[in-house]
């Protein structure tokens, strides 16, 4: 290896500075939001809160914790995420398994049916009319059913199944297992890695989703916490914490959003270090095979 030239050493230095800036720009908003959530109103108003809380207090957290609507919506998010992920996993696994069978007659058509929907979709209004006329409004099914299969996830899973050794399945079939038995007792136990990845993909996206609920739910007690947060941001509701005392209300105004942002993203931030690499490998697999 030749000694790096001077200009390259300069470049390395500049590169380090640029990447440090990227890290700061990415992380600073989080740090600032967290600091705000613990800070006193007047310090926020004065623009004094940067990285550390000023006038540390937990008043806003107490207010949010006492708001029964917040907990209700938080619970809804958990419920919707679980139900929608289960439905999505069942449908995606079944279809991906079918598509992975290369000998299957009509396989190309089945793949095409799914892939075409990546390029052309019905649009907001027909979907809205459909979900409404199916009577799914105000139920978890309005969230779970219309998004039950993500074609991207489907293709990732199909690629994984295609790489499993076929001999194992054939042997199991000769030993008398039906196709269902092979899928449940041979294929799925061998596919823990991809199943875990898919569960993560789906649950993170359902946890984060807000628009289906916003569109199809009419009552605030049915909303997930993302819509609760959205209503806070747009200033659409204040009814939820009508009981709060006046002195507390000024505290609320400035940083109740910060507290809700922190609490809503908390589960994601907690699992993030563990799940991140699954996502990266999933995306790569999808890109290579898709």
């Amino acid at each position: 290896m030749v000694k790096p030239s001077r200009s390259y050493r300069v470049f390395q230095g500049v590169n380090g500075v640029v990447l440090t800036l990227v890290v700061i720009v990415t992380l600073y908003p989080f740090a600032n939001i967290i600091a705000r959530s613990f800070s006193a109103e007047r310090h926020i108003r004065a623009g004094e809160v940067t990285l550390w809380p000023k006038g540390f207090n937990l008043t806003t957290y107490e207010i949010v914790f006492e708001d029964s609507m917040f907990w209700r919506n938080y619970g809804n998010t958990v419920l919707y995420t679980v139900v929608a992920t289960v439905v999505a996993m069942v449908l995606t696994t079944c279809y991906a398994y079918v598509l992975s069978k290369k000998h299957l007659k009509g396989r190309g058509v089945l793949v095409g049916v799914a892939v075409f929907t990546m390029f052309f979709t019905g649009g907001l209004i027909p979907n809205y009319v459909l979900v409404t006329s199916l009577g799914l409004k105000n139920s978890v099914w309005a969230i779970a059913l219309p998004n039950a299969i993500s074609v991207f996830n489907l293709l990732v899973m199909k690629a994984f199944f295609e790489n499993l050794p076929t001999e194992l399945e054939e042997a199991a079939q000769i030993d008398g297992l039906s196709t269902y038995g092979v899928l449940l007792r041979i294929v799925l136990p061998l596919s823990k890695a991809v199943v875990a990845t898919m569960v993560l993909f789906y649950s993170v996206s359902f946890w984060n989703s807000w628009f289906s609920a916003f569109l199809y739910m009419d009552k605030s007690e049915l909303m997930p916490v993302t819509v609760y947060l959205r209503n806070l941001i747009s200033g659409a509701t204040t009814g939820g914490n009508a009981g709060a005392a006046d002195a507390q209300l000024s505290q609320v105004g400035a940083n109740i959003q910060a507290v809700t942002i922190v609490l809503t993203s908390l589960p994601i931030l907690c699992v993030y270090p563990f799940v991140q690499r699954y996502f990266v490998s999933g995306v790569m697999l999808g890109a290579v095979k898709g």
């Binding site: 990227v22 890290v23 926020i44 398994y97 079918v98 299969i149 947060l229």
Partner: protein
């Protein structure tokens, strides 16, 4: 083709391949089996596909057909395909609607700016990351830059608004330079900057994944050869690195062009307000307001269909163009 195949009695399943063989003698196409036999052999597999197919038919293809309400008068509570034909009435309506042309221009603006800024940033970031020698440092920067991708769009919008609030950090910094606080969220001229900026913040890191993967596949020998030919660092990037990741770049560019018209509907919906409509209102948000909020379903569906068709035309022509010029295409 299965004129002579009668269902074999149970227990005598095996003969079919042998029986089928003579009929295909001299026929070079790979073995094709009849539907009846495929169904008999794989009915359990097909049965697994029923529910997913039902999903696609009901929730993906039915809405596509449902677009006919753009040409029919729809009445709430009536058939999802509408009540009677009205021809191109709704198309003419939106074509002569000044608001439509405003949201059309806004869509082109925001879509164009997003493409211009959000497409190259991950490439540059990936090239920079690729030059980092310390693996741990590289990992750390990557992990941090992926993080915003995992957050709900609602949280991103919330953070954006907090950062740009009159008492937020951005105005705080402006204060150091003696600048009056700017009410970013209320000013139409700031909307595009805010939109593109937050988009870069959220997607840039995640976008590097595929480029970094593509970079690892470039043959080290090519760099060696380039060095021997006297190429400096920049020339190596220009002549080896960039051509090496070109297929990835083209693929992602086609995909980006395909979603050009569908510019971040949810984010615009979260970030805009009546004050910023002049620059922020895009086709999809107008469709939402016209359809869901004002109940003009047929009118909104007509606009939505127009948007979807432009999107489809864009992606197919981008695909064609890139197949002809650089030989890479999605299909």
């Amino acid at each position: 083709m299965s004129t002579s195949t009668t269902p074999a009695p149970p227990g005598t399943e095996d003969p079919p391949p042998a029986r089928a063989a003579p009929r295909r003698r001299g026929n070079r196409t790979p073995a094709r089996t009849g539907w009846r036999r495929a169904l008999r052999r794989d009915w359990q597999l097909y049965s697994l596909a029923i529910l997913p197919l039902l999903f696609f038919l009901v929730f993906r293809y039915l809405p596509m057909l449902g677009n006919v309400i753009a040409f029919r008068r729809f009445e709430p509570g009536g058939s999802i395909f509408g009540e009677e034909w009205v021809g191109l009435r709704y198309v003419q309506m939106f074509l002569s609607d000044p608001t439509f042309w405003q949201v059309f221009r806004n869509t082109l603006w925001i879509g164009g700016l997003t493409l211009l800024f959000c497409f190259p940033v991950p490439i540059v970031l990936a090239l920079l990351l690729n030059e980092v020698r310390r693996r741990s440092l590289k990992r750390f920067v990557q992990s941090v830059s992926y993080l915003p991708h995992f957050l709900s769009i609602v949280i991103v919008a919330g953070i954006t608004m907090q950062m740009l609030a009159s008492d937020g950090p951005v105005n705080h910094v402006l204060g150091w330079f003696g600048h009056e606080p700017i009410r970013f969220i209320q000013e139409p001229e700031w909307f595009r900057t805010i939109y593109v900026g937050s988009e870069i913040w959220q997607t840039a890191g995640w976008g590097t994944i595929l480029y970094l993967a593509a970079l690892t596949t470039i043959d080290e020998d090519l760099y060696e050869a380039a060095r021997i030919d006297g190429a400096n660092r920049w020339q190596q990037i220009w002549h080896v690195t960039l051509p090496g990741i070109r297929p990835t770049m083209v693929t992602l560019l086609i995909l980006n062009i395909g979603t050009f018209m569908a510019v971040g509907f949810e984010k615009v919906l979260l970030l805009y307000n009546p004050l910023t409509y002049p620059t922020a209102d895009v086709i999809s948000t107008y469709v939402y307001r016209a359809g869901v909020e004002s109940n003009s379903f047929s009118y909104a569906a007509a606009i939505g269909l127009f948007e979807a068709i432009i999107g489809l035309v864009l992606i197919t022509s981008a695909n064609q163009l890139s197949r002809r010029t650089v030989g890479t295409s999605l299909w």
